[in-house]
Symmetry: C2
Subunit: 194 residues, 2 copies
DNA sequence: CCGGTCGTTGACAGCGCGGTAAAGGCGTCC
DNA sequence: GGACGCCTTTACCGCGCTGTCAACGACCGG
């Protein structure tokens, strides 16, 4: 791979990331060969290794960038909302909306979670997201509006709900976001209440 | 593989299942080769194919039997408890206890979920477990003790919480079950309440 | 129009894997 | 004791994969 790319090179790189993301999500990481990726793009195999040093590196890049975008979306949704419970609600809704709009990335995160090589990256991403949620929970505890339980554990419970409902209703089925989001929010906020 | 085994043959088969489960949980499915499994047992490769027609078949067997045992444990814990909410609580505690005692199987279920070949088996297992939970939720709705929301969706939310807390606190860390179970139960039961 | 960097090609090497098969031991029952 | 069926061994096949390489094109500044 190279560090300085022309406009054309940049585009090729994006094309590779995009088509790889689609194929990974459809068929998984192992079953998708580098040959599959370049063939789908209609280019030679060397192109891949011009932009990435390995298939592994490409997936790591996919994980990093998707996490970055999800995080941006969440922060934009939350803004400067003062009420911590409302921040949690907005975060939940933003996550569901983003995953729905980027199903491929959700699937890729799922499949990377079971591979030792990618678990560290994923763990890092998750820790950041969990800390965010836990902070809102802690604020709510400080305000005395919810029970005083371990904020991090509550954050993990919330993320468990989001992950499961996303997978079952937004990825596998195609339910409207509001329907799912309303139940997720209701379940989680009640779950927090004393 | 053969259908009629002697006592010795039966034992070999169990040994293969057991050592394979350990290796799969540690290193994943793909990275664990058939050669690894038989070497860990100190036998020749042909032994494996005497008892199983493929590596794939062995994993399916692992998924089936573990689901069966988990289910038994849940039903034993629930017994004939009349209160649906209490049944849910007992089910949650039983699941956490079983997964804690059988971490390998939890990991194996996770890794099988991202492989197209095993997803159908897993989906079948999950549907059974979800239907169980959803039935208790429905009973609770009929009793008028919780809000009237989609029971299946609530069941999935509960399973999301269980899965996530199991992974983060019972598999990766080694927290005491009660600590985790108490929070899981509190979060889920409050989440159901109107 | 020319040189150099960026981009691309596709054949090929090398490896590790799942799965096979032929041949050999070992227990058991007549 | 011998014959049969359960169990085990090990060398081997074929495949598909990642990653390499040497040569070739294409764009661009001068």
């Amino acid at each position: 791979m190279r560090d300085h790319l022309t406009a054309r090179g940049h585009e090729r790189r994006e094309q590779l990331l995009s088509v790889a993301a689609t194929l990974f999500a459809e068929r998984g990481y192992h079953p998708t060969s580098v040959a599959d990726i370049v063939t789908a793009l209609g280019v030679g195999k060397g192109v891949f290794y011009w932009y990435f040093s390995s298939k592994e590196e490409l997936l790591v890049e996919l994980l990093r960038s998707s996490h970055h975008e999800l995080r941006k979306r969440q922060q934009a949704a939350i803004g400067d909302e003062p009420d911590p419970l409302r921040r949690i609600e907005l975060g939940i809704r933003a996550s569901l909306a983003w995953f729905r709009a980027h199903r491929d990335y959700f699937s890729i995160i799922q499949l990377a979670a079971t591979d030792e090589r990618f678990a560290p990256v994923l763990r890092g991403n998750e820790d950041v997201a969990l800390a965010d949620t836990a902070r809102h929970v802690k604020d709510a505890v400080a305000d005395g509006v919810i029970a005083d339980l371990d904020p991090l554990m509550l954050a993990r419970a919330i993320h468990g709900v989001i992950g499961r409902l996303t997978r079952d209703y937004l990825i596998e089925r195609d339910e409207p976001i509001e329907l799912v989001a309303d139940l997720a929010v209701a379940f989680c906020l009640r779950g927090l209440n004393p």
